[in-house]
């Protein structure tokens, strides 16, 4: 087992508000970890720091030994870290296939001149990436919708497409931001299976933000719990479920009755 992602005491604050303090995370190749916490705990901020939207004020992030600090979003993605979004951000007017193709741009070597001249490189790469994209869609059960405008897809399919699109960048690590939000239990069950199979098929390491505890508890090997930007617990699902600090963070502290 080799360390793939090494996040070392990352901190970030907006104005006076500490959004993330001294955040540490280690992920080995092939891990499936969860990141949970109540609303406003700093989970999405953590993703945004990882993907280069915000620059951390302290700490280091390394992917496969390579320092990620100072890179901008697209460089980080090309370094092997792809994400999905809490509020779906598809390219709404593009077709399903095109959405995936945009992401596969990270693989192409030919320039725009090649495109304009239809060079060998262009033809070969475009063909290969088209085929690859279709395979990917097949896996996500979207192949029959390949030429549909992505905006018109049903919600569940849009969620799946986001994951497929992220995978098309050929990431080493996949960050999923609330993939189950808005899904019904049936869909959630399928999603859980899908996440597991994605890990198998594409050999990716997955970090998952999710509110649905059932889902997180059932598929994640390790869970990190954030509250107010502070890591309050790290461990296996069982450990987390019993951790009083976690329960307190979620359910609140029982009030002393005289306080009222």
């Amino acid at each position: 087992m080799s360390v793939l992602l090494d996040i070392n005491s990352i901190s970030l604050s907006f104005g006076g508000l500490k959004a993330l303090s001294d955040f540490n995370l280690l992920m080995n190749k092939g891990d499936l970890q969860g990141l949970i916490g109540p609303n406003g705990a700093g989970k999405t901020t953590c993703f945004n720091v990882l993907t280069g939207v915000y620059a951390p004020q302290a700490g280091e992030m390394r992917l496969d030994g390579k320092l990620l600090n100072g890179m901008c979003c697209n460089q980080i993605t090309r370094a092997g870290l792809a994400r999905t979004f809490q509020n779906i951000r598809l390219f709404g007017n593009l077709t399903v296939l095109d959405n995936v193709l945009v992401a596969s741009r990270t693989q192409i070597r030919h320039t725009m001149f090649g495109t304009v001249l239809r060079s060998m490189g262009h033809l070969r790469e475009e063909r290969a990436l088209h085929a690859e994209a279709m395979t990917l869609l097949e896996v996500f059960d979207l192949a029959h919708l390949a030429h549909e405008t992505s905006r018109n897809l049903p919600y569940g399919s849009q969620r799946r497409l986001e994951i497929a699109r992220a995978l098309a960048t050929r990431p080493k690590i996949l960050l999923l931001d609330e993939p189950a939000a808005g899904m019904n239990p049936q869909e959630k069950k399928l999603l859980a299976e899908l996440i597991l199979s994605v890990r198998e098929k594409f050999h990716v390491t997955i970090l998952l933000i999710e509110h649905d505890m059932c889902l997180v508890m059932s598929i994640c090997e390790r869970i990190t719990v954030l509250d107010h930007g502070v890591t309050i617990a790290q461990g296996t699902p069982q450990e987390i479920q019993c951790d009083p600090k976690v329960i307190e963070a979620y359910l609140g502290k029982p009030m002393e009755s005289e306080a009222i």
Partner: protein, 365 residues
């Protein structure tokens, strides 16, 4: 090798079509009698104007349609191309051939110079496009529109200050500075040799359309479109958005520059700073908006229609802008993506229904 040829073959067809147009369409007093219609050289002139409008609208679509930025300075790039090429052919002709008179015919000795000037026009314009595109990294939407507009106005003020165009007699005693700034000032660059004809205009127009279409269909093109759809997601999918945004400006400016060069060398056109103002830019914006932001065929159709209609409705020229204005407003409320939206017209469902074609998918490559 075969594949390489395949890449070129649409361009060859484009040049062939343009050549046929050039040969068939009448110039001067000739005309083609088709019974109800007599095609004469006025028809030819309008066809040329259409070609240039297509170049301008399709290229503007790369910025305003593909990447969803907003440029109101397209006429500025057109002016840069027009002046660059006019300068090269005018002074070049004097230098090489002794005079700057217009040359008839397709392959005259000046044609090589003309082609070189077209390329130079495109490149200089692209350079400016790159510079104007740089602010797009920090600005978006309406701020960018204002900057591009400001660029056009600055350009206009500067061009107004240039010196008179020198002819072969003046040039003997002129200094280098005078030759360099001899762009005609407010009167415009007059006396440009008239190399431009249907062959050149339509070769460039069709090639522009092919290039823009190929770009759009390719993965590079999807990267452009992804920026317009959702910039944050595009960035997260590894698309270097800044690179593409500036590239869009540079590519669009390249074609606008070439379009301007063709415009400058057309018989009866005067390149003057005051006619390259933002109102002309708005004309192109109208074409792109009505045709469909991101739709090449839409831009082409809009360019054709909006060039022909004012000619055929010359008596109603007072109302032309009123109609455009109302169309703009109504479209933005009812159909904000233009007639065809991001699609080409044969991809649009209601058109397909109209033609009752079997919905066969044709996807490049």
């Amino acid at each position: 090798m075969v594949a390489l040829l395949r890449g070129f073959y649409p361009y060859a067809i484009a040049i062939l079509i343009a050549f046929v147009m050039y040969k068939v369409m009448p110039v001067g007093a000739e005309k083609i009698d088709l019974g109800i219609l007599q095609i004469n050289s006025f028809f030819t002139k309008v066809t040329g104007a259409i070609g240039i409008a297509i170049i301008m609208a399709v290229s503007l679509n790369i910025v305003n349609g593909y990447t969803g930025q907003f440029s109101l300075g397209h006429a500025g790039f057109m002016a840069i191309g027009a002046y660059t090429s006019a300068w090269i052919t005018h002074y070049g002709s004097i230098h090489f051939f002794g005079n700057a008179n217009a040359m008839e015919g397709l392959f005259t000795k000046g044609s090589a110079l003309f082609v070189a000037s077209l390329l130079a026009a495109g490149l200089v314009s692209a350079l400016f496009g790159y510079l104007v595109g740089l602010p797009s990294l920090r600005l978006r939407g309406d701020y960018l529109a204002i900057v591009t507009l400001g660029f056009g106005e600055i350009l206009r003020a500067l061009l107004n200050q240039t010196q008179p165009v020198l002819d072969e007699f003046d040039i003997e005693e002129a200094t280098r500075g005078e030759i360099f700034t001899g762009l005609g000032g407010a009167l415009g660059f007059s006396g440009v040799p008239k190399y431009s004809n249907l062959f050149w205009v339509w070769s460039v127009a069709i090639i522009t359309v092919i290039i823009c279409y190929r770009l759009k269909q390719s993965i590079h093109g999807k990267a452009f479109l992804s920026i317009r759809e959702n910039e944050i997601a595009a960035e997260a999918m590894g698309v270097p958005t800044t690179h593409y945004k500036v590239a869009a400006f540079a590519i669009a400016a390249f074609f606008a520059g070439v379009g301007g060069a063709l415009f400058a060398h057309t018989l009866g056109n005067i390149v003057s700073p005051n006619e390259m103002n933002y109102q002309r830019s708005i004309d192109f914006v109208i074409m792109v908006v009505l045709g469909g932001m991101g739709s090449i065929s839409g831009s082409v159709i809009a360019a054709v229609a909006l060039t022909i209609l004012p000619e055929s409705l010359r008596e109603f020229s007072e109302y032309r802008m009123i109609v455009y204005a109302i169309l703009l407003i109504v479209f933005m409320i009812v159909r904000p993506d233009g007639i065809f939206g991001i699609r080409e017209f044969w991809e649009v469902k209601w058109i397909r229904r109209l033609f009752r074609r079997t919905p066969k998918e044709t996807h490049a490559p």
